[in-house]
Every structure is written in structure tokens, then in C-alpha cells.
């Protein structure tokens, strides 16, 4: 046997005990050719095209799960941002499109469809404006549709007019989905430097530079990394810690590449990218916070957290890049609060606060994620949180995002539960001093000097 017994048992342990899984197989579909001057005709074409390309997605994912014995948690679809192909004349017609997308996802047994959004980092078109205003209606009347708004980029700066609006929009989404703990907000990401091929939700979309159809795979396994670090012991130095993470990331990535190539072949479409992101789930042991703690922190949120996360994120990327030539998307460590039991516990014991989370986003792969804040937080405070996060992304030439939930009617210490992969979390205290006059200035913040590389 070419493979040593220890290696076989290591893989089995990763899958059986440590939650190694293919988090998502996301099919990216270009909808540019569905555009027609009539909304009805466009909707019909959208339905037919997604149906034609994705009808076997779930079936083939199941077949692969069977073949390799590796769990495939979600199948998803990402589409061309709706603002780029849909001839929207009203909010109602956008809601019609979203219901159409929800219906297709239901019929094909797809978990989420992403791409209901727009790119406004330099300014808004008339359709972009409609798309943004439609979000409270779309996210409160659909189950599986996810949305994004890209409000900033290192190349073009930060669109503060759009960010000003997003504070109000997010509050409205929270209100319109108040019966379900404001869950609508969990399906919207506000981005800086959004990537076009990310398979993870809520922020997935099929960018304009993407092919007709492609398969993007998201692979995850925080438990595997934590176990490797536990085994390494407490006395290893941080160089050895980084090396250990890199090796584990390599193996996880290889498993993802195998699945990605195989499913793309079976479906007859191109293999896009493999995104190795340590994405936690509410399952015990599937936590990024616990990895940081396995490195030696008493609790995530203590000083040292940013350094530990920096080591983790960088080593994951390096292991991944060596394992596959198709690494893309976000690839790194996600730090959602409600989806990670370790994060939730750190918040509850007063170790992790909003300021530390924000500092962590300067070295993690995305941003402020699944953070529940008081429902009466001012619109301008939410806009300012977004602006700070966008500034971190723009200044560091990285993707950052904000997925924040001002849970309607909830106060600090209350508990909010979304169920499933979205998890549950306590409402966090945030600084409520007013940034109102600053935010209301609006305008576009110019691109930073590092944006001018030509």
C-alpha cells in the first residue's frame, strides 16, 4: 500500500472526529445573456438558465459525498450581480426576481443563492439605487437569497454616500425580519474589495470577469487545525506553530481540490477556484476561537489575539497555495461570532469586545461577521462601523466585510438565535457615542496612495 497506515488513520480522524468537510460547492452562473428590456422575459430566461445548468448540482454533490465519504454540507449558486443584468424599473420587480431565485433554489434543493447586490464603490447607477432600496423587501420575503453591496475599493476609495444609506437599510431589514430575530441582516454583506469568485455566503456573487459557468469550492476544518496544534504541545515555538498549520492546510486543500475537479468534470463546467477558509460552525470543536486558544491564549479577545490570528490566517494561505494552483476566493480564517461557539463563549465571559473584533479583521480573511448589536443602535453608528471596516480593507488592500445584526427590540445581554449554520449569539455592547456629523458629510473618500500602482 503506497499510503502509510498513519496517514490513512489521520485522514479518517479528520473526517470522523474533527469535522473536516467540504463546506460548499458553489456554482457560479453568468446571467448577462438573460437580460431583456422586459422584466418578465428576463425572469423567465433566468429561471431556464439556472435550471439548465444547476439541475444536477445537488445530485452530483451527493454522488461525490458517497464516493469519497467526505461530507458536502451545502450546495449553492452565485449569480451575476443583479444590478448588472436585470432591467429593474421598480422595487416590486426586484422583489419578483428575488422570489423567482428563491423558487429555483427551492426546486433544485440548493441551500443559498448569492449575488443579489451591486458594486457601488465609485458611485451608484439608477439601478444600483433601486437594488439597495429593495434589500429590506427582498430579504424579508425570501429564504435563500443572499445579497451584497460593495461600497469601497483600494483602487477607487470609499463611497460614503452609499455607506450612509446602508446604516438605514440594515436597520430596516432588521425591522422587517423582527419576527425571526432580524435574520434578514445575516443575509447581507457590505464589502470593501469584494472578490468575484468567493463561494461563501452571504457574500458570494459571480463577477463580470468570470466565465459562463464555473464551480467554486469552499473547504473548511477548524477542528483539524486545533487538533494538530494540541498535538504539537505547549512548548513549540510560534515558528513551529505556523509550520504545523501550513501542513494541515495543505492536506485540507488537497481534499477540496479533488472534489472540485471531480464535480466540475461531472457537470461539464470549468473548475474555478478552491477557497480554503477556516469557517466555523456552531458544532462543538469546529471553532476558530478554539484554535487561537490552542495556541496559548486563555480566552479569545485577550491581547495576543491579533498576533495569533495573523499567524493562523497567513499559514492557512501558504499551505493552501502550495497545495493547489486554483486557490482563490477569500482563503484564510473567518471570525463570525454567532457561528462559532468559542467566540460566543469569549463574548459571554467579557473577554471579546467589538474593538478587538475590529482589530482582528485587519489580519483575518474578511471582516466583522455575524455580530449582534442592540436594536436601537443609531443608523449613523452602523454606518460608522461599516466605514471603519471599509477603511481597514482599503488601506490594507484586502477584502473586508460587515455582516451585522441590530436585532430589533433586543438589548445588551439578550440572546438571539438564528438556527442552523448561522448559530446564536448574545447582543454585544458597542460604543454609542455619536459619529452623526461625520457620517452625514457623505461624499467619496479618495483612494489611498497604495491604490496607485500602475
Amino acid at each position: 500500500m503506497r499510503i502509510a497506515p498513519e496517514e490513512i488513520l489521520e485522514t479518517i480522524k479528520m473526517i470522523e472526529d474533527l469535522n473536516l468537510d467540504i463546506r460548499t460547492i458553489t456554482m457560479g452562473i453568468s446571467l448577462f445573456d438573460c437580460s431583456d428590456s422586459s422584466e418578465t422575459v428576463t425572469n423567465k430566461k433566468v429561471y431556464e438558465k439556472i435550471y439548465r445548468l444547476a439541475k444536477n448540482l445537488k445530485k452530483e454533490a451527493k454522488a461525490l459525498e458517497n464516493k469519497f465519504g467526505l461530507p458536502i454540507v451545502n450546495t449553492r449558486i452565485s449569480i451575476t450581480p443583479v444590478s448588472l443584468f436585470y432591467p429593474a424599473k421598480s422595487i416590486d420587480s426586484l422583489v419578483d426576481l428575488s422570489k423567482n431565485l428563491d423558487k429555483i433554489a427551492g426546486e433544485l434543493d440548493i441551500d443559498f443563492t448569492g449575488g443579489f447586490g451591486c458594486l457601488v464603490h465609485k458611485g451608484e447607477t439608477e439601478i444600483d439605487k433601486l437594488v439597495i432600496e429593495s434589500l429590506p423587501f427582498v430579504l424579508s420575503s425570501t429564504e435563500k437569497v443572499c445579497s451584497f453591496v460593495n461600497t469601497a475599493s483600494t483602487k477607487s476609495g470609499i463611497n460614503m454616500d452609499a455607506i450612509l444609506k446602508m446604516g438605514r437599510i440594515i436597520k430596516d431589514i432588521a425591522y422587517k425580519t423582527r419576527e425571526k430575530d432580524s435574520i434578514g441582516c445575516a443575509k447581507l454583506v457590505v464589502f470593501a474589495n469584494a472578490v468575484e469568485d468567493n463561494p461563501f455566503m452571504a457574500g458570494a456573487f459571480h463577477g463580470p470577469g468570470e466565465p459562463e459557468c464555473s464551480i467554486n469550492v469552499g473547504v473548511s476544518g477548524p477542528g483539524v487545525v486545533k487538533y494538530a496544534l494540541k498535538k504539537l504541545g505547549k512548548t513549540a515555538n510560534l515558528g513551529e506553530v505556523a509550520e504545523t498549520i501550513k501542513k494541515v492546510a495543505f492536506k485540507i486543500t488537497r481534499a477540496g481540490e479533488l472534489i472540485g475537479k471531480e464535480i466540475a468534470k461531472r457537470l461539464g463546467v470549468s473548475f474555478g477556484i478552491l477557497d480554503l477558509s477556516l469557517a466555523p460552525t456552531p458544532a462543538i470543536g469546529d471553532s476558530v476561537a478554539e484554535i487561537l486558544e490552542a495556541m496559548g491564549l486563555e480566552s479569545t479577545g485577550s491581547f495576543g489575539t491579533v498576533t495569533a490570528l495573523f499567524i493562523l490566517n497567513d499559514a492557512v494561505k501558504k499551505g493552501g497555495l502550495f497545495a493547489s494552483s486554483s486557490v482563490g476566493g477569500l482563503s484564510g480564517a473567518f471570525i463570525p461570532v454567532s457561528e462559532d461557539k468559542g467566540m460566543v463563549s469569549a463574548v459571554k465571559k467579557g473577554s471579546l469586545n467589538m474593538e478587538m473584533l475590529m482589530a482582528m479583521t485587519s489580519v483575518c480573511s474578511v471582516g466583522l461577521d455575524m455580530i449582534v448589536i442592540p436594536g436601537d443602535t443609531l443608523d449613523e453608528v452602523i454606518s460608522a462601523i461599516i466605514a471603519d471596516e471599509m477603511a481597514i480593507g482599503v488601506a490594507n488592500n484586502k477584502t473586508t466585510g460587515v455582516r451585522i445584526i441590530p436585532a430589533y427590540g433586543k438589548k445588551v445581554g439578550d440572546y438571539v438565535s438564528f438556527g442552523g449554520l448561522l448559530g446564536e449569539a448574545p447582543v454585544m455592547a458597542i460604543n454609542q457615542f455619536s459619529p452623526k456629523d461625520f457620517i452625514n458629510r457623505g461624499g467619496r473618500i479618495p483612494a489611498p496612495i497604495i491604490g496607485f500602482r500602475n
Binding site: 500500500m1 499510503i3 488513520l9 485522514t11 464516493k67 469519497f68 465519504g69 479533488l258
Partner: protein, 92 residues
Amino acid sequence: MENKVVITVLGEDRVGIVANISNLLATHNINIEDITQKILKGNIFAMIMLVDMKNANIDLGELRKKLDEKSIELGMKITAHDLELFNYMHRI
């Protein structure tokens, strides 16, 4: 077509484990190509089998179900995965 599968069996040692699994495989025309077997400390039995399912009369999913039944019967943990997964993860 290559159709190699790795079966692992882990649990407390007892009489008849190998015979039991081998019988199941033979019934379904699955050929055993290699067996590595060890008693780990604490009387833990560990077996890794490489089998060929080229001429098998069931597919891997069905085999996994049968092995699950066996694992309950024997009180052992049994897994079955395509060999390619291990090749991909441990070899460049």
C-alpha cells in the same frame, strides 16, 4: 477503471473481526488486495484494508451502509473511502 477503496476498522479486539468483514466483502465480490493489522495499546484493534470494487455487485454507498450495520453488530468503528482521497491528501 480504478476502483480502489480503503476500509478501516477500529475498536476493542475480539474473535472473528477479520473473518466477519472478509465474508461481507466476498459476498459482494469485492477483492481484498492488502491488509494491515495491528493491536494498539489498550487492546485496540486497528485494521486497514485496501480492496478493489471493480467487479463488486454493490456500489460504495451501499457497501458503506452494510459496513455501518456491521459496525453496530461488532461494536467497532468502520469507515470506507475512495483511495484517491488519501493519494490527494498525502502525496503530491
